[in-house]
Subunit: 501 residues, 2 copies
Amino acid sequence: MEEKVKQLASRLAEIADITNAQALLNWDQLTNMPNGGAEARGRQLATLAKISHDLSVAPELGQLIEDLLPYADTLPDTSQEAAMIRVAKKDYDRETRIPGEFVGKITEHISNTYMKWVEARAQNNFELVRPALETTLELSREASSFFPEAAHVADPLIDISDNGMTVGIIRPLFSDLRKELVPIMQAITSQAPAEDACIKQYFPEDDQIAFGEKVIRAMGYDFERGRQDRSAHPFTTRFSINDVRITTRVKSDDFLEAFFSTTHEAGHAMYEQGIDQALEGSNLASGTSAGVHESQSRLWENVVSRGKPFWECYYPQLQEIFPSQFGNVSMDTFYRAINKVQRSLIRTDADEVTYNLHVMIRFDLEIDMLEEKLEVRHLPEAWNERYRSDLGVLPASDAEGCMQDVHWYGGLIGGAFQGYTLGNILSGLFYGKALEAHPDIPEQIRQGKFDVLHGWLKDNIYAHGRKFEAPELIQRVTGSSMTTAPYLAYLKAKFGELYQI
Amino acid sequence: MEEKVKQLASRLAEIADITNAQALLNWDQLTNMPNGGAEARGRQLATLAKISHDLSVAPELGQLIEDLLPYADTLPDTSQEAAMIRVAKKDYDRETRIPGEFVGKITEHISNTYMKWVEARAQNNFELVRPALETTLELSREASSFFPEAAHVADPLIDISDNGMTVGIIRPLFSDLRKELVPIMQAITSQAPAEDACIKQYFPEDDQIAFGEKVIRAMGYDFERGRQDRSAHPFTTRFSINDVRITTRVKSDDFLEAFFSTTHEAGHAMYEQGIDQALEGSNLASGTSAGVHESQSRLWENVVSRGKPFWECYYPQLQEIFPSQFGNVSMDTFYRAINKVQRSLIRTDADEVTYNLHVMIRFDLEIDMLEEKLEVRHLPEAWNERYRSDLGVLPASDAEGCMQDVHWYGGLIGGAFQGYTLGNILSGLFYGKALEAHPDIPEQIRQGKFDVLHGWLKDNIYAHGRKFEAPELIQRVTGSSMTTAPYLAYLKAKFGELYQI
């Protein structure tokens, strides 16, 4: 078995090497590549994708995994070898059960749909992209059909990014959450809106970048094993657990943009950087799911860097860097400005309270479409109706309505959105557990010290990589299954104080 | 045949895609990669190298080429298809005749030798690296032995970078050149050395970079299909003919460093950018040899940007950018400073006149070692003796003697140096031909216009990529075989005027 485990590790390492090379080609395309390079880069990425796909579905790999599964069952629960074999089995099944020809068909269709969407959104004409979206829905259902054992048509699609999660788990969580969030939002938005002119002044871009980098270095993002560049949309990527890079975008007239995207991406990146070095090069050396990943970006962005203890430490420093902008702005005004709650139309601009309402609308509509309860041609009305009922606003156009996000037009329908809200729920759950273990974390943060929080997250979550699927990881960390209570308690405490509700 | 040509093109494109991905991983390593990324990057590069090697020696590829060779012979001389097939044949033979196992042995040996060299050079102790270098010599002879049809033991090694070139062609050229260069150097260095304090002042780095970029943009380097970054050693790399990047290094106390490395690398890059778009993605879409490549870097660096017409246009602009440094320095003083000739020990710092003497010493010593006329243990004395006789200087140590360059310690012995001087000779040859066609080129340059020269080089050299091997290309461009006369005429005219000799 020893020899077979080695062979498996070597095959998986080869696949990981190519995947990481693809990631570098993508990163370069979004940060450095001159325009002229696009066509050849597309070819190079396609060639690498073909090679990694061929390696991922090689029958020899499948045989090796089958041979090793009984051996994995003899190993202890927390064995790295056993996890490597089981994760390999799951990945191999997914790769092989979806026929290569079908993947090719989907890829081409999505690429065409994306181009249609760009046009349709610019012209605010949903009809232009509707037929393509109808095909996407059919293909999404077909993709699901390769996993006939699934309890719900969306489960296999959700499993791609949030493995172990199902409609059965998510629906009651989301339903709980919405029930609580709507009244909170209503109570807040019945008051006068927070004044946020102070964060809409002119801030030199380099100073913004320098401040953000100083903060994330203090939080624990390791620049010896990463770097920050600029790109049109912020993202995190990794070429190994020792080279995890983030990007940001800066607006000289909006302080929110660069700073909170920097702490957000640093959260993702610290997760990857924190994976146990023993897992490097294996199939376990990455975050375990979209939701757990998002829990870390949200935890560092919202719970920490939109929190009062954080700014009690950093606001005086920020005032020193931007004296003419913030010199006469009180900490309280600034804190209210960065935590302004409002009913809005655009998910990516939403605040902590309303953000999940945006996400859950999308999740419900996805499920309705997959269940054939909602036809694509009725999506615009359904979207608008939900915005009216949940958020109390009405999109003036489909461009800021159901054509707002790229997800359904640049991928499948199903599995695209739940991770954001799962992440928020988990950020509260995990932070609560960290506080139980170390009640002085807020005081530490007030002193600009993040190592206790970072260390706890690393030991309990980051280190494990993909060793445990999200539900098992949650069970191990919290001793129970997923619940919204700690997240809601966090929101109520923070916004209760801010808005006296 | 149609179908087989397509199959061949597709296999070659796949190999090219992987090679270009490797190039990006290398570029990133030298420009952006955080230290932590090194280990994984090594693995990723090794995996890609293995995959591209497997594809390059696939028996199916060999069969396809064999099937197509008779067809290639029926095509016209200048046919792209015929060139693709013939170049594929040559590459395939080289890849398959050197056994994979031997390549592995060499790679490991060279990696160890390189580390030994770093240590030996730092300690100025040749004995430390001598045994490794002896093995390198044996391995170099063994590598040559896989090509028993070669007329000279060094020919197969030279052919790797300068395909079509042989000791038989190079030796008489170099012998001619040395005979002429030594008296020129003696005549110049018997005079008082040029005053070059003006270029050793403080120059803000960003201003240097901005000036260099302005110049190469005017020359014709296309930033829409390239970019410039900083790295420890300047280099050019390409991921397609539409994404050709250069790097430079800047010293704030030496104007020579960044500017001339920028025009040098831009010369390499314009060659690659100038390849016919019809060749993109094929095995013909790169420069044809090290020598022809170097002819372009040298032409733009030396013939153009160290020339008088160039500075008659740009010196006033340079004075505006650096008024305190150059405001009171005459054009003549500046021009003499950047063309200072001196007997020196270090190849990379050498001027136009003495540079080739450095290179030819190395070439002769390589050949002597390969012919077993010179033992590695006697290399230090042989090196010093040649420096004494050719350049009239004596290294104070082996560190600045035979351990000066990385080439023999980071690669094979043989084929590493000739390209530099072939490039210089060709820069004179090609520039002379361009002048015959367009005698007003110097006047154009004086007006800051480079399009006639650039256009001529593109049409006659760049566009062809690897379609013709160097000797055939030279024959086509000049109507005769390679000769040193135009290069020597250029040097004599330029330095004759500068030093009244």
